[in-house]
Symmetry: C2
Subunit: 381 residues, 2 copies
């Protein structure tokens, strides 16, 4: 299949550091190429890929406040959609900015939504395009917008073989992620304290989250059981997780997909967290670790987590979250959309005689909400 | 005529304080309504207008970094263009974000570009849409993108009658504008010093420009000839300008349209500035004040500026920059676009038999660059 993959220009593929979406796209593209597909990646020129790379900008923009990324993205989409007919499928990871372009070609566009949908502005814009082809990254993600035309849920995938498997369990807990109130580092510290087991905390502190960190977390770090590591690189993160007793990440928001959970499992390390958002879909209580809603329940989890099979965690990750599985599921979706192309845009009305000016043709009013279907390329009106 | 006016959602119409585009749109809409047109304004609900207001959001977003204005704008444009057929013309002031929508209707869209075009990201996106219908706010604005389909230059307009006319010249110079290196407040101070005439400086200091202000300008303010007023409101600004000997604003960048110049003229106050960007189009050397490229030339200008006729400045502003003139020029453009609707987008190819699969219809490849014209609503292919 001829597949176009579209990513935003802020971060290269794969990302050097932070960049969840770009890492998933990297994994997907590599797996699609391995499966023999003809993949074109539209990304920044400093990206690395086995696919054909069409650079849309020399270098990743990062989040430079002096550069208008939206203008670059609209120019980029205009360029791509002018040539879209050469692809069987256009798969965009560029979120809502893709939507005004999807009817510029008859080739189907698939849009994977990577972000949260409870943000009012994002919720509003997706509600205006209910019939585009959406993929959710978990069933839980759909709860805020159940009315969209969700084609499928495709869970993210990683290259499980790239993660170091550690068959023996370690003697510390670890918290890995962004330093944000939604990840509840304070609870992670409290749980470690009450269970008497050390907690190694590796987290990126964003500019935006620094006040929270200084005010709420720094006072808690002065404890012999707590070790603050700051931001660690990808290799360091994997080592840290592999050698831990468990990943302890007591989220308190409906995270659409917890990437770090499946990375920990790939290392053989069980996960202790709260059953919110995608967690019940990704993890199995008692098999991949334990879920708890309170500090007490999580402390209970810590006490018995050594009993979880680390081989079981690893093979669970390999079976359910390898990137080859993700690629195969996407190819299924691509095939489905190729067969059944839905035109969701409102078709223009027919030409009729102008009601006021004799001899002049005009368009009848558009019939709002009209949807025409075609199967296998048959005629559209 | 049925006219839709589209403005961004960050600032209400008219703006409370800063908001050049929104003030121009306010003036335009009021003048169009006075001329008997049926105008619909798509803006925030806290706007005030004589036209029909369709609120796209309760309140102006300001520049809240926690709200994604682009998502709101795309949702807004999707909503408007779904009903666009009811208008004779859609006139957008929303810059490039409008472009992906202009081919969603056969009604013509006119896009007034209010900003500078030498910013790489903006330049890139407009180059991708060379054949949309653009209005420049000065001929000078076009220099960075001469290849666009510029339909007309329409200079901004103000309600000259709302400005206090002062027939006697004052005894101080004034600098009114943003505190930015591009407006050269340092030169304005130097000129006042050398000519021995007081300079009253009224300027907004943005967060971004505070370092420049602290470092470069604050040390210069400690001078008996310099009076620092900080940010003043609209009424204060008009009083300040009306009672001045001259407005002294030695810009050093190609400003696409200097609104404050024509506001000063409306008060009868001549202007001293540098002949860059739109200045030679807006001002007449020796009639509305003097232009100079160096401190010496500007000091020369100060010496003779009392000779400029203040009545002449006022009537020049009334003749050339009243909002009724702006509205009439836009109506001319609207009429022209109504008669001659250019479809600039690439039309889809005709249905043909599929070259490989018998019995199946497919689309012939699109003929890139094809442009179809129609005159007075006659059939389009």
């Amino acid at each position: 299949m001829h597949i176009a993959q579209l990513v935003p220009l802020q971060i290269a593929v794969p990302p050097c550091a932070y960049g969840g979406t770009e890492r998933v796209v990297y994994n997907l593209v590599e797996a699609l190429v391995r499966q023999g597909h003809d993949v074109t990646l539209y990304a920044t020129g400093d990206s690395h890929t086995s696919a054909r790379l069409v650079p849309m900008l020399d270098k990743a923009l990062r989040f430079d406040p002096n550069v208008d990324a939206t203008a670059h993205h609209i120019a980029m989409l205009n360029e791509i959609y002018a040539d879209a007919d050469q692809y069987d499928i256009i798969h965009s990871h560029m979120e809502y900015i893709t939507l005004p372009f999807v009817d510029k070609t008859r080739r189907p566009t698939l849009l994977t939504l990577h972000g949260r949908l409870d943000v009012p502005a994002w919720n509003r814009v997706y509600r205006r395009y209910p019939a585009a082809n959406y993929v959710s990254i978990s069933d839980a993600q759909r709860q805020f917008l159940p009315q969209l035309r969700w084609v499928r849920t495709v869970h993210h995938g990683i290259n499980v073989a790239d993660f170091p498997f550690q068959p023996e369990h370690g003697d510390y807990l670890t918290f890995v992620g962004r330093m944000s109130p939604e990840k509840r580092p304070d609870i992670a510290i409290e749980v470690a304290r009450r269970s008497g087991i050390p907690n190694k905390i590796a987290a990126k502190v964003d500019h935006k989250e620094r006040p929270f960190f200084e005010r709420e977390i720094v006072p808690l770090l002065d404890d012999p059981l707590v070790e603050w590591l700051g931001e660690v690189d990808e290799t360091g993160k994997r080592e840290l997780m592999a050698n831990a007793l468990a990943l302890l990440l007591p989220i308190n928001w409906p995270e659409p997909f917890g990437m770090v959970f499946i990375e920990a499992l790939a290392c053989g390390t069980p996960v202790l967290t709260c059953p919110l958002g995608s967690v019940p879909e990704l993890l199995m209580d008692g098999i991949t670790g334990y879920c708890g809603c309170t500090v007490e329940e999580l402390v209970e989890g810590v006490k018995k987590v050594w009993r979880i099979s680390r081989e079981g965690c690893r093979s669970y990750a390999a079976r359910r979250f390898d990137s080859s599985r993700m690629a195969s599921e996407y190819v299924d979706v691509y095939r489905e959309l190729q067969g059944h192309r839905r035109r969701y845009f409102v078709a223009p009305g027919p030409l009729i005689a102008h009601p006021a000016v004799p001899g002049i043709l005009t368009r009848a009013p558009r019939k709002a909400g009209r949807v025409a279907d075609s199967v296998h390329g048959a005629a559209l009106p």
